[in-house]
Point group: C2
Chain length 412, copies 2
């Protein structure tokens, strides 16, 4: 192509997100994104699974959907039905499961089936950036509910529902990440789940349960899914293999009543999610999931202990956080004078990438001095080095932590 370029500018519709910048590589110390621990990836198992499933039924790749229909590879749905019963107390059949291209496609399908511009949804105040951003783009109002150590606060939810009702607003769903909440890593207890269902029923609002991190509770014991506890078919449940097996495999799933599943299925016009990934996951997970995940969790627990130690050592009392209940991220509060958006920009110049709090919250004042640190991907050494650099940058930019801060502190 020559340089006398055509100008696409006048053709662009209003409201597009800003143009992407060119990618410049991963940060040396990368505490962002849901990346996982490369050492814990079950590579030999995945290779063996690829060999056996392709040898047995690889020629079905010549047919869209592997002759399993539009809901996805049936053996993977059958594995999920068994797994969801065992782990989350969900009773469903393969016919109630839709395989999607990662839980992000699940978010898109739920949103497309239920939302239109100007609608209102209810979120946890601190929540998953990818979910918040989608709603901003769709022009949907997000009401954030404060969290405590057990997740979304039911008193605040009750107040919000009552206030919205008084204003004549029908929220389209209550979105929650109840089991290892992103970013707070809290777990909603069974009683609170029941209360959430009671409120949802009272106000006629469906619950959108994102259980993407639920496999990574340290001790493997978790409350039943909200989907499982509902008696009214008013819950849409989504999950993923990104956190339990590998994030680059783009495979997630939706469990939902057919009345809404059939609407999402009509909107899934991608001719199916990646078949090879579905085949390999089904072949690997059916025999190995229950032994792989506990080993992964142990490795992740060691990583977060390294991270918490490094934060205590480098930031002292300047960094506040709760010991997470599981997962791959730590939600950290720095002193009020720290603007983590600025800290993010300054740290990136020194090779340290973090998630500034404002990107993970519906309340900018609350999240202004908070940040999310993902610990699964960096090595123990990178965690220690990266946190030391982050503390040095933070000290230079904001005067905290004080240079004498690296004293032992009690766990928050």
């Amino acid at each position: 192509m020559k340089e006398e370029d055509f100008d696409f500018g006048p053709l662009l519709p209003a409201g597009l997100p800003p143009a992407a910048a060119r990618w410049t590589g991963l940060a040396r110390y990368n505490f962002t994104g849901g990346n996982n621990d490369a050492d814990e990836l079950p590579l030999d198992g995945l290779i063996a699974a690829a060999n056996s499933v392709l040898a047995r039924e690889g020629r079905t790749l010549a047919t869209y959907g592997l002759a399993s229909g539009p809901q996805g590879y049936r053996p993977l749905r059958e594995f999920l039905a068994t797994k969801l019963k065992r782990d989350a107390d969900i009773s469903c059949t393969a016919d109630e499961i839709l395989i999607v291209s990662g839980s992000l496609q699940a978010l898109d399908l739920v949103n497309a089936a239920l939302l239109t511009r100007g609608d209102t949804v209810i979120f946890e105040m601190d929540s998953y950036q990818g979910a918040i951003n989608r709603l901003t783009r769709l022009g949907v109002n997000v009401v954030g509910i404060p969290l405590d150590g057990e997740g979304m606060r039911m008193d605040a939810l009750a107040d919000a529902l009552a206030e919205l009702k008084a204003r004549g607003i029908q929220p389209k769903y209550i979105y929650t990440i109840p089991t290892v909440q992103n970013p707070t890593a809290t777990i909603m207890g069974k009683e609170r789940r029941a209360e959430l269902l009671r409120l949802a029923g009272e106000y006629g609002v469906p619950v959108f349960e994102d259980d993407c991190y639920a496999d990574l509770v340290w001790d493997g014991v978790r409350p039943p899914a909200i989907y499982a506890m509902s008696e009214r078919a008013n819950v849409i449940h989504i999950g993923s293999f990104s956190k339990s097996i590998a994030p680059a495999l783009r495979v997630g799933f939706i469990v939902a009543p057919w009345s809404i599943m059939s609407r999402m299925l009509a909107l899934k016009t991608d001719a199916g999610s990646g078949a090879l990934e579905q085949m390999v996951l089904a072949e690997y997970c059916t025999p190995h999931f229950t032994s792989h995940v506990p080993a992964l969790r142990k490795g992740l627990r060691r990583k977060v202990e390294t991270l918490m130690e490094a934060l205590n050592e480098q930031f002292g009392i300047a960094a506040e956080f709760e010991d997470p209940k599981g997962g791959i991220f730590l939600w950290v509060k720095l002193p009020d004078q720290v603007d983590t958006m600025k800290l993010y920009q300054a740290a990136l110049k020194h090779g340290v990438a973090i998630n500034p709090g404002n990107e993970w919250s519906t309340d900018k004042a609350h999240s202004h001095s908070r940040l999310r640190l993902c610990f699964a991907s960096p090595t123990h050494e990178q965690i220690r080095e990266g946190v030391a650099i982050l503390a040095e940058v933070c000290r230079r930019e904001f005067g905290v932590p004080a240079r004498s801060a690296n004293v032992e502190r009690a766990r928050a």
Copy 2:
């Protein structure tokens, strides 16, 4: 879940497509969809590729995007840059290529970056159902341009552009499938491509070139891509591995100027397309693509000859079609009294699935008695049996072909 189900109905936004029906399995004689020939699938090669690429770099699956950034697995983009130069005369680097989840996602990204409700685009009159349906859903007006044996007619395009301009309407793009057009299987010659570019330049309308079937020209010789011939960076080019390797692998690509690529990239919020599929395709295709595809084309050519013979034998002069220039489908005209939408419904009851013309055209009168028959997936025996059943159903429903029709006919 109990039966006292929550009613999602009142929450659904206006304009949703109808709910999907439950899947009831593939038809026994399936002449629909872009499915490929299972016997030609390079299974041993794909298994070997999976083994070698996973053994070498499988641990990168723990990182979103395989450390290749948001445009997709770099070795696959490098293979494509080489392939596109060799086959389509396109000069581009890996940085000008975006890997997507099948060409359907490419359609979605181009549409999201350029279109809004009420816009107008220009299409070939008979065109790909998946592309037409997307625009219907988006509320975009589609102006169909008639085709002849060399694809989109430039006299008709010139008239349409002039008329739209006179009405003050700026079309957002001209969508064309110039190399093995879907469904007519025509190829636009080089001179006509130049004329298309001249008209596009004159009216300031970008060209959207869908080259998904371009690898399947029988003799392997094709005109340069319109993208390659443009000197103004006003062409968006898309392609796919669905037709050359396997449709269930959901991998396609976009080649575009950065000014619009950066807009599409900002809209690709899926955390990357399936990594395992990209890895296996790059590993397999780099050494084997140029030997695999000619073998595949030979097999497809044998299939279409079986199909044309069966149509001649069963339908006689009642079925009119051109010998296709390549691809996986045949576009057939039946006598005017045949409503192929009704034929489709009647045939399906007898296990024969076809694509009724109305779903593949912007002109319902023109396509009313036309149908598309995909021949890659059924066996030679299934093709013969399926066409015989189709003729029998057609005779019963519409009185054609006459029972004595199975005489030799001259090729159209």
